[in-house]
């Protein structure tokens, strides 16, 4: 039991980062291979605040999100004018430089890592944060801000001609995305109790991207499925020992061939057929007034 809870806790931590990445990649159309960098910043911020400065965990959790967000604004100012793949390359460079910077800061342990962090992340605290994160993300996507993100993903030039400030909107998306990653990093630090820069290598960033894509880009439900599945899958495969990562890799390839749009395929939970049936039935029974947009939220 303890083991399963640990795996699910780890899945929740990954989910927090994937939610942020999903906002940036799935909804705004910007790929990032630097989210481990934001996670790293969040983890170290939280470690410094709680261990060195004795700040309560909750305060450190929020602060690490904000610090990662602040750094993302700097990065975004410099790189968000770049189009498509160039932005991706810039984030890749960012993620690696963050890791190398922490590698060389001796007071923080350098490559030896930072130890003695209190264990505050457990199943309940992590999933509580995740649920709040999902809740806010759903509300954000149902606002004019969320619609503007999607518009930019669909058609950048047309977005500008309907008065969307493309640069600022992308910056906002990156900012919120980095907050999620920073909070994920903080949860991670308080789960592992020991962090080192090599925990946040490029491979970590790619893992998050794979989770977002396999789950389904442009869907919060997809992020949840992706993070859960790809955290749990390697654990389920432990019995095959050495072949574990081979099967994991093959599973990812097969999934992407069978469902190129990801498992959720751009749909949300509320759009799946059985939920739609239940909601129609519900509407029939209680005849709620039609919100005038075809029953969509």
């Amino acid at each position: 039991m303890e083991y399963y809870l640990q795996v699910l806790t780890l899945a929740g931590i990954n989910l927090m980062v994937v939610l942020g990445l999903g906002l940036l990649t799935g909804f705004t159309g910007l790929f990032s291979f630097g989210h481990a960098g934001f996670m790293c910043i969040g983890a170290y911020t939280s470690a410094i605040l709680t261990v060195t400065l004795k700040v309560p965990f909750v305060v450190a959790l929020i602060a690490s999100g904000l610090v990662a967000g602040a750094i993302s604004l700097l990065l975004g100012r410099l790189t968000l004018k770049l189009k498509g793949d160039y932005f991706l390359i810039a984030t890749l460079g960012f993620g690696e430089s963050v890791r190398l910077i922490f590698d060389n800061i001796e007071p923080l342990g350098g490559a030896r890592g930072f130890s003695g962090i209190e264990k505050n992340s457990n199943f309940i605290s992590v999933w509580l944060v995740c649920i709040i994160g999902i809740f806010f993300l759903i509300r954000l996507m149902n606002s004019r801000y969320g619609r503007n993100f999607k518009a930019i993903r669909e058609e950048e030039l047309a977005s500008a001609t309907i008065g969307i400030d493309v640069f600022k909107t992308k910056l906002l998306s990156l900012f919120i995305s980095a907050i999620y990653a920073g909070i994920g990093g903080s949860l991670y630090a308080h789960y592992m109790t020991f962090i080192k820069p090599t925990n946040f290598q490029l491979i970590k960033s790619t893992e998050f991207t794979i989770m977002a894509i396999i789950g389904g880009l442009g869907s919060i439900t997809g992020s949840v499925i992706g993070a859960l599945l790809l955290t749990v899958l390697p654990e389920l495969l432990r019995f095959v020992a050495d072949w574990r990562m081979v099967i994991y890799g093959a599973a990812v390839v097969i999934l992407i061939i069978v469902r190129p749009k990801g498992i959720a395929g751009g749909k949300e939970f509320k759009d799946f057929f059985f939920i739609v049936w239940i909601r129609r039935l519900f509407n029939k029974i209680f005849t709620k007034e039609d919100p005038g947009n075809g029953g969509k939220l």
Partner: protein, 263 residues
């Protein structure tokens, strides 16, 4: 009556090619203005300069008394100029409803916190937008198709949706780039009515690029004809139609005339 848009000595050069050459015309309030010319005459380039997709090489664009130099596309849209595109640029994977819904983002002013906590500001703002979207879809005849994904619409509906999206910002000047392209005669007639009624109801001016001559001659109060980026004629439909240079640009010279030139 006052001037909405003044284009003064506008020029655009792409390397050695002069796409638009010293073009001048003024659009008055509530006017439907036609910009016509053969393919490659530089019409869309004019649109792209007005909406800051391209920066002019020289000349000025004045909208409502303000010079538009150094403004970016979104600022121009906010100032009150919106457009459609020759090669339709809808938000393809969004529904009809969402396309127009997105374009209404400036008609409310709730901020990001309001949207996270769903307070009164957010609710009244969203309610207002929803009403606007429904009304607009109704009047553009797209209400029945509101839940369809934009890229699955027939061509004519896609064009109308693009117009609906542009009108959603409540502009003072609407730029339509070949709105009737790919439409059959019935749809074109319908479009003429729509453009007229939009002008009346929203009190806006329209600048129109179009190749359907009957449409242009039918609804434009003023027309400017360009060829190779240069103005060759300006005036009402009647004046332009019989202008020798316009006939030449569209139909070419008579054989005798050519022989005459050669001789």
């Amino acid at each position: 009556m006052k001037k909405v848009l003044e284009i003064n000595n506008l020029t655009k050069k792409f390397g050695g090619l002069t796409a638009v050459d010293n073009l001048t015309f003024h659009i008055w309030e509530n006017q439907i203005y036609g910009l016509i010319g053969p393919n490659g005459a530089g019409k869309t380039t004019v649109f792209n300069m007005i909406t800051a997709v391209y920066a002019p090489t020289s000349g000025e664009i004045i909208f409502d008394g303000d010079n538009l130099a150094n403004k970016s596309s979104y600022e121009i849209a906010r100032a009150g100029i919106t457009r459609t595109f020759q090669n339709i640029r809808l938000f393809k994977e969004m529904t009809v409803y969402e396309n127009v819904h997105t374009a209404c983002h400036l008609n409310t002013d709730y901020n990001i916190w309001d949207s996270l906590i769903h307070n009164k500001n957010y609710k009244s703002g969203e309610k207002l937008i929803r009403q606007q979207v429904n009304e607009l879809l109704e009047r553009m005849g797209l209400y029945e198709r509101r839940d369809e994904v934009a890229m699955n619409l027939p061509y004519g509906d896609q064009r109308r949706l693009e117009i609906a999206r542009a009108v959603a910002l409540q502009p003072k000047l609407l730029l339509l780039d070949e709105p009737a392209a790919g439409m059959n005669p019935d749809e074109t007639n319908e479009l003429v009515k729509t453009i007229r009624s939009i002008r009346e109801d929203f009190k806006l001016s329209v600048l129109l690029i179009e190749h359907h001559m009957d449409l242009v001659m039918n609804i434009c109060d003023q027309i400017v004809v360009i060829n190779f980026g240069k103005e060759i004629a300006k005036g009402t439909a009647g004046e332009v139609q019989n202008h020798p240079e316009v006939i030449e640009a569209y139909l070419g010279k008579r054989e005798e005339e050519l022989l005459h030139v050669d001789a």
